[in-house]
């Protein structure tokens, strides 16, 4: 976690920093699925998130839909549109988190404008306060680079929440330092350039990125393009502490919605897919060479 958290750590009123995220990465690779909340509707979405936990999720990233998701590919863009059309709002999102019956840590993934506008005063604090009150553990904000993250980092520190930064293949060592300084919880390692979306192969650049990050004292979860157990295994074998899977799961939701499948049957398919991905991650862990210098070629 960032040094900033400890700077004023002697204040008795400081909330304890959420340990659940660190625990999720403590033994073995973490499986971190993503779904857009409210896709295709509130009730189904609750069932889908709960299915992911049954399937072995260690942390769940909950997407709060924003109208301009510039970091998202078509799969998640469409999910966001469905969720917004079904009436998802930031306040509904927080109610959703309260209604959710899961034990794993929950991370809110959204865009900065929604965080900034929430509540009576502008700025990130009211949003973070509300998120903390419903038990959110941290945030991923794709349009908030380290340079602009100060106010959100401050609010996260105040309420004991994590700010998870995305590391891109283009992030150089200079930027990496800045980025690690504002980050806590885990690093979201972007496996390839571009936007979210399932792809058939995992980029070679993942291994490179992981090697560059080996000195950083935060768990590294790799995302962008992972859709199969084999890819999960490859990434973990290359040294990832976790895998993040979004589009491959959102595809199942979209597919079920299009074919008018029942919520239970879509939830079952999500659970099965989650199991497969988690197993892939464990297999990759087993294949790792025993030395800590675990880069593949």
């Amino acid at each position: 976690m960032s040094d900033a958290v400890d700077d004023e750590g002697d204040d008795a009123d400081d909330p304890a920093v959420d340990d659940s995220v660190a625990d999720a990465f403590a033994d073995g690779p973490a499986f971190v699925p993503y779904l857009a909340v409210g896709d295709p509707d509130y009730e189904s979405s609750l069932a889908y998130v709960e299915a992911l936990e049954r399937g072995g999720a260690d942390v769940i990233e909950l997407g709060l839909p924003f109208s301009e998701p510039i970091a998202e590919g078509p799969t998640i863009q469409n999910a966001v549109v469905r969720a917004l059309e079904a009436g998802m709002t930031p306040e509904r999102f927080f109610e959703f988190v309260e209604d959710l019956d899961v034990d794993v840590p929950l991370v809110c993934m959204t865009y900065y404008n929604l965080i900034y506008q929430f509540g009576s005063e502008q700025g990130p604090r009211p949003f973070v306060e509300r998120a903390a009150s419903v038990g959110i553990s941290g945030f991923v904000v794709p349009d908030l680079p380290a340079e602009e993250a100060g106010p959100l980092r401050e609010a996260c520190d105040e309420f004991g929440l994590h700010l998870i930064s995305i590391v891109a293949p283009t992030t150089d060592d200079d930027r990496l330092g800045t980025l690690v300084d504002v980050s806590s919880g885990y690093l979201y390692v972007q496996a390839r350039l571009g936007v979210t979306g399932a792809s058939s192969s995992v980029s070679d650049r993942t291994g490179e990125s992981l090697a560059r990050l080996s000195g950083v004292d935060l768990p590294k979860a790799v995302g962008f393009g992972i859709s199969s157990d084999e890819q999960a295994a490859t990434v973990v074998e290359a040294g990832a502490d976790g895998i993040i899977v979004g589009s491959a799961l959102v595809d199942i939701v979209a597919d079920g919605h299009e074919r008018g499948e029942s919520t239970e049957s879509v939830a079952d398919r999500l659970e099965t897919k989650a199991r497969e991905l988690k197993r892939g991650a464990l297999d990759g862990y087993g294949r790792r060479p025993p030395a800590p210098e675990g880069t593949s070629d």
Binding site: F66, S67, E68, P69, I70, A71, E72, G73, Q77, V81, L84, T89, P90, E91, Y111, Y112, N113, L114, Y116, Q117, F118, Q122, P142, D143, L144, P145, A146, E147, E148, S165, I166, V167, A168, P169, T170, T171, D172, R175, L179, Q190, L193, G194, V195
Partner: protein, 429 residues
């Protein structure tokens, strides 16, 4: 600031650094991490080539915008409008720039910069198609491959420009998300950029987006006010009382204003699209206007903190204007700042007044303006007695691209000054 304005150029050292990208509370760099190194690289290139003229970049830009682009554009006294409104009206004729709009100033500047930076591919978004056309022309001129993203709805509204982009060798990619206008096209181009950032430059079409775009685009467009300031002194013997320009993202506005910002006695009017109403329908998530300076609230969109059309939660609402080039929910951060400071006055006229302005300028001065530009003339008509004795109006572009829309929109309403429209049923095709 005044010495800068005097010479129409920054004083040495004054602009040596690209700054931090903030205009008061606005601006910044709110983009995915994957783009940050490219944005840093661009900031560095902007500083070296544009601000410090390294390798003679600015000399080459000025030469090309003169020889290829046709600068300087004239400042024309509009005799009949002057008489009608009993005030001296001067027209800055950006419609005479190559391509038919001010957009080439920026497009040529950025494509040339991309070349200096060693980039291999150009992408751009476009609303009215004028920026896409200008970029396609600049890319053809400088031998760079170019892909332009354009909302589906705008493709239908602006077919001549789509064809112009294509014959200049650019690819035009339709964007089908949302309402299929400029906002969606910008988001889609950012997605392409995030994928191909290592060899691709994104030529943003207005003074919007993450730093350094708002400053850099303004600097390329500032040729307008650099010339206009000199020309109005020659022709009117004095500085104007007011400068008027239409504002979508705000590039022709900032370009027209920049060298006058230091002249406290010159009033600056940014004319936004009032659409059909200034209200926002939160339920529907639409604003029937594009008046983000007049009615928007602070937020973060497409890389910058600025004034936006958004709902209570911060979801961006769909905008509307008869002119696709003004049809955008955001606006440049510097313009938002100048409005907060009281230096720029945001005003707006509705679709009807813009259509009337379109016909009036065509009939009275023989200049068929773009529907974007027509908003500025709608404002002149309604508020000429508040503009002082000498007014400069930026004719941001010509209306050839809009003829089909003009027929359709004129036929829809009762336009007092329109010609008999009955023979145009079925449009131009």
């Amino acid at each position: 600031m005044s010495s800068e304005s005097e010479r129409g150029e920054p004083a040495d050292g004054e602009w040596a650094s690209a700054g931090d990208g903030k205009f008061g509370r606005y601006g910044g760099q709110y983009v995915p991490e994957a783009l940050m190194p490219a944005i840093q690289e661009l900031t560095d290139a902007y500083e070296r080539y544009v601000l410090n003229n390294e390798d003679g970049f600015m000399d080459e830009f000025r030469r090309r915008i003169r020889d290829f682009g046709g600068r300087p554009t004239p400042l024309q006294r509009a005799d009949r409008l002057s008489e009608r409104y009993d005030t001296e009206v001067y027209l800055k004729r950006e419609d005479l720039l190559h391509g038919g709009a001010h957009k080439l100033n920026n497009a040529l500047g950025q494509v040339l910069l991309a070349k200096y930076m060693g980039k291999e591919r150009i992408i751009a978004e476009t609303g009215a198609g004028q920026h896409g056309t200008a970029t396609a022309m600049a890319a053809a001129h400088l031998g760079m491959p170019c892909e332009v993203y354009m909302g589906e709805r705008d493709i239908n509204r602006q077919r001549p420009n789509v064809f112009r982009m294509k014959i200049n060798g650019s690819e035009v990619t339709p964007v089908t998300t949302g309402r299929g206008t400029l906002k969606e096209a910008i988001s889609e181009t950012m997605r392409d950029w995030a994928t191909n950032v290592e060899d691709t430059h994104y030529v943003i079409g207005s003074v919007v987006g993450p730093h350094p775009f708002p400053r850099m685009v303004r600097d390329f467009q500032a040729l307008i006010s650099e010339e206009a300031r000199r020309q109005v002194r020659e022709k009117a013997g004095r500085l104007p009382d007011s400068v008027v320009a239409c504002a979508g993202g705000g590039s022709n506005t900032m370009g027209s204003f920049h060298h006058f910002v230091g002249d406290a006695d010159v009033d600056l009017f940014a004319v936004e699209a009032g659409g059909s109403s200034l209200a926002v329908d939160e339920e529907e998530g639409v604003a029937p206007n594009s008046a983000s300076l007049s009615t928007g609230t602070e937020g973060v969109l497409h890389g910058a903190r600025t004034k936006l059309l958004q709902d209570h939660d911060g979801q961006i609402v769909e905008s509307h204007s008869v002119s696709s080039g003004l049809d955008y929910a955001g606006v440049g951060p510097e313009l938002a700042h100048l409005v907060d400071e009281g230096r720029v006055t945001p005003v707006n006229v509705d679709d009807d007044a813009a259509i009337e302005g379109f016909h009036r300028l065509s009939q009275e001065e023989g200049i068929i303006p773009a529907l974007e530009t027509a908003h500025a003339f709608g404002y002149l008509h309604e508020h000429h007695d508040e503009l002082g004795d000498v007014t400069v109006i930026n004719v941001s572009g010509r209306g050839d691209k809009d003829l089909d829309t003009a027929i359709e929109e004129t036929a829809k309403r009762d336009v007092a000054n329109a010609p008999d429209m009955s023979m145009f049923e079925g449009g131009l095709r």
